[in-house]
Amino acid sequence: MTPFLAYALAFLVWPGLLVAAPLAWFELWLMRKALAKLQGRRGPPLFQPFFDWVKLMGKRTVIPEGVPRAAFVALPVIALASIAAALVVMPVPGNPAPRLPGDVVLLLYLLEVPVLCEVLAGYVGRSVYGEVGAMREALMSLAYNLPFLASVIAMAEWAGSFDLRTLAAAPFGLVHVVAGAAFLLALPARLKSNPFSIANAEHEIVAGGLIEYSGPLLGLFELAHALEIVVLTELFVILFVPMPAAPLAALVVWVAVGLALLMGLTLLAATTARLRLAQAFRFYWVWGGAMSVAALAAGLAR
């Protein structure tokens, strides 16, 4: 297979869009259903996220007057493309894409692109609420990226490489636990779920940075966000969870850890109220900073 074909296959089919999108909808449904159960409700049916997305794709898009059309349309496309490209880098079994040296760095950049797109979307839309959402999003990314980047860098230090497959195969040590905890600390803010749903604060600043988006363009952003959940859970399992050698056992561990992560996030979201921006920022720079130092120290001590 030529490299181009391999990349195209990885981008479009596995582990890219065609498989990851249904997986993302399923994970979204799991979280919404669990949240409903925790609140004593019935919750949405299994196909709800899929129907939501299809309906959005079948609506007309309203582009507000005076916004740069090219940027307005390009932002959600770039966000979705970059998160799908992040899926291509994932060292999951059966990934047809060739191995890239230094793919950890590429992955970290690709994970930042959707965030940047949402920030820009808030400013491009010319809505005051959108601008407030974009500002919050940008500040939050400065906050949660401290423990997030530190956890990945600590793992790279431990493995002595910036190659995801080497990181995944690194011998288990204290750094896995400490850096994994730092990663978990950053996870709810990365996914903008409840105590840190500051950027998209519904009913407070209406809808955050995506306020002016509608129809298919909104659908692309929602899909990119859903894929972000898939990428981050996959990344957690790859980086911090030691995999058993038997494929079936590995699959069981994979599913169990993924489920535990989603349920933990939902439980946290259901039991907490939204923090203020300053509180969240302080939390990440004090506790996230302490966790980062601990993770880096554990990565160095071999």
């Binding site: 019935r42 299809v54 209406v206 909104l218």
Partner: protein, 166 residues
Amino acid sequence: MSLLDRVLSIARRKSPWVCRINAGSCNGCDIEVTPLLTPRYDAEQIGVQVHGTPKHCDILLVSGTLTVRSRAAVLSMWDQMPSPKAVVAIGSCPSSGNVFAESPMVLGCSLDTIVPVDVWVPGCPPRPQQILDGIVEAARLLGEGATRDQLAARDAARPELEKVAS
């Protein structure tokens, strides 16, 4: 009807996202809308999500009488919603002004003269079940392509209709 159209039709029926505007209501109807999201009525079962911005929504819930000042707001909300869209009028006020009719600031016209209403939910205030029923009905119309917005768009695409009418 192709497969894609059929899936889209089901998706429109199953995923009604709503936004609300209080056009001058006494707040009674709005209090009856809030329980839809509580465990007792749980509108998420049928895919309802309440959104703050009309740009994300399919169904506009209008409660209350139309007043001199709210008329422009209702029109603006309607214009901002991307098609296909539906309007559900909640309570007796949007149709007649109810007990507020002939107050100085209340417009003496029904909501229908401003935006095309698809479902009327009468009552003062209506019960949450009735409001939910109205949303389900509007979602069904959206799925069938039979809301007044969708019908108007279809008719506009057929210029021969105008000849018959004239």
